[in-house]
Amino acid sequence: MEVAARDARVVLLTGDLGFMALEPFSDAYPDRFINVGVAEQNMVGVACGLADAGYLPFCYSIATFASMRGYEFIRNAAALHRLPVRIVGVGGGFEYGSAGLSHYGLEDVGLMRIQPNITVVVPADHRQTLTAVRTTWDLPGPVYYRIGKDDRREVPGLEGRFELGRVDVLGSGADLLFLSMGAVSAEVAAAAEKLLARGLRSTLGIVSTVNPPPIDDLVRLLSQFPVAITVEAHQLNGGLGSLACEVVAENAIRCKVVRVSAAGSPSGVTGSENFLNRRHGLDCDSLVATAINANAGSLA
């Protein structure tokens, strides 16, 4: 709404999703709101035509549909033409809970990250989402946003900060490093607090820009710790954990990387987001246990 008020080039497209979310925009800017119907491929193609005409189109859908259904359009039309198309994927990881596997965004970040011309932004909470959009909405090339559904959950201490291409660091514990991406960061922050009470001091790096990768910050952080735990509601390969491993390998850093992810999906078993996070070791208590084991391993 804010960027639309500032810039008449902003257009919002939806693949018929966004009930109780998009109405303020469609009411305020009916001429710049297009529901293309349940047709995500076409939505991306149409956005590319609009972007070429000078508009800044935002394409809204659930993360898995937004990122995968029109992926070839994103590659051939948006990325290869370097058009300012914004793909907004809502509800990464298991945020759609009982909706089932079809609605989980588990590959989106990896798929977007391998396209060199796409900026990939994964805010950790709703306050950081606001700052991230205010910072990146008028970038010249395509942007993928994986945004959370929950506008209450916050990462304590983050205070909505966002700087493109940087890692936001919380805490300064020297025992181990957490790197987290997306809405699951609140669980990681809670785990870091619990670990402190048990005498294990950690540092948490919030990675909210995945492309361009925050290489310098990651090198600096990973070089300071014998063990790093990456946490993401995403498939094991392609996302944050892979990025950390690439940085470790390419810079010959002596740091063991433990990747906590949604490995194990797909599975037909469903439930709430909390249940699924627990099942994949992405909840606070599981992360505490993982950290204690990893730390013990690094000392052995």
Binding site: G45, V46, G49, D52, A53, P57, E72, N76, A77
Partner: protein, 266 residues
């Protein structure tokens, strides 16, 4: 003096360059020689390739890019030296067109993309109050792609009278005749049922095509589709409706026969 953009000249260049580069897709390029002649000899309102209010053209059947390069050359937007790099190393002139080349509005090559982009381009033109139109040339077999019909529906829903699709109805696709692979009949009725203004045209009658394109302005409330009835390999006797010429390059003898055959287009 610069040669006119004509079906004969486009076909001649298609044959010359295909022979020099020893590549195929000749039949597909020949089938749109008349359509491109009509567009680049006045059908498209485009005084210069960088005029922001020029009509946009999207060759959604990107595998026929050689015919587009020929038209751009005859239009004076592509030099002979550039044309001679077709399918060479370190060139922008590949088998499928790239928008980094002056005169190519969008890169294509994956079928089923062009019409969606065209819908966005037409929406953008309307929102800006521009009179420019968007022309998208699709193949008939491209109508197999589901994404094309998503774009067809949205264009009609949005009443995009500034959008013109041209279907190159040559009845062939990579592995067979469309009637055998995936029947499209009745193709015009299908577009019409989706809310488009449908016009059947002879895709090799250049004056007729030019007249048809000019007439579309009189019906501004709906998007337009020209179902262009064409012959695959048009002008070359042994390529006519032959599946293998979707892929094969020519031998020297094939080339000489073809050059002689297309004289009938003059």
């Amino acid at each position: 003096m610069k040669a006119r953009v004509s079906a004969y000249e486009i076909s001649r260049i298609v044959l010359e360059q295909s022979m020099r580069a020893r590549v195929g897709h000749i039949g597909s390029a020949l089938s749109i020689s008349g359509i491109l002649a009509a567009l680049y000899d006045g059908g498209l309102r485009a005084g210069a390739p960088d005029d922001p209010d020029r009509d946009r053209f999207i060759l959604s059947k990107g595998h026929a890019a050689l015919a587009l390069y020929a038209a751009l050359h005859l239009r004076g937007w592509l030099t002979a030296d550039e044309l001679d790099t077709y399918c060479a190393d370190d060139t922008l002139l590949g088998v499928h067109p790239d928008s980094e080349l002056i005169g190519v509005d969008f890169s294509t090559g994956s079928l089923g993309h062009g019409l969606s982009i065209g819908v966005g381009a037409a929406l953008g033109a309307r929102m800006q109050g521009s009179q420019r139109r968007v022309v998208v040339l699709v193949s008939d077999a491209e109508c197999d792609e589901g994404s094309l019909w998503e774009a067809v529906m949205l264009a009609a829903h949005q009443h995009l009278g500034n959008l013109i699709a041209i279907v190159d109805l040559n009845g062939q696709q990579a592995l067979g005749y469309t009637k055998d692979v995936l029947s499209l009949d009745p193709l015009g009725d299908r577009w019409g049922a989706f809310g488009w203004d449908v016009l059947h045209v002879d895709g090799h009658d250049v004056p007729g095509l030019t007249k048809a394109i000019a007439s579309l302005n009189d019906r501004p409330a709906t998007p337009h589709v020209l179902i262009a009835h064409t012959v695959f390999g048009h002008g070359v006797s042994y390529m006519r409706n032959q599946i293998k010429w979707h892929y094969l390059p020519m031998s020297q003898t094939d080339y000489e026969v073809a050059l002689n055959d297309i004289k009938s287009l003059q």
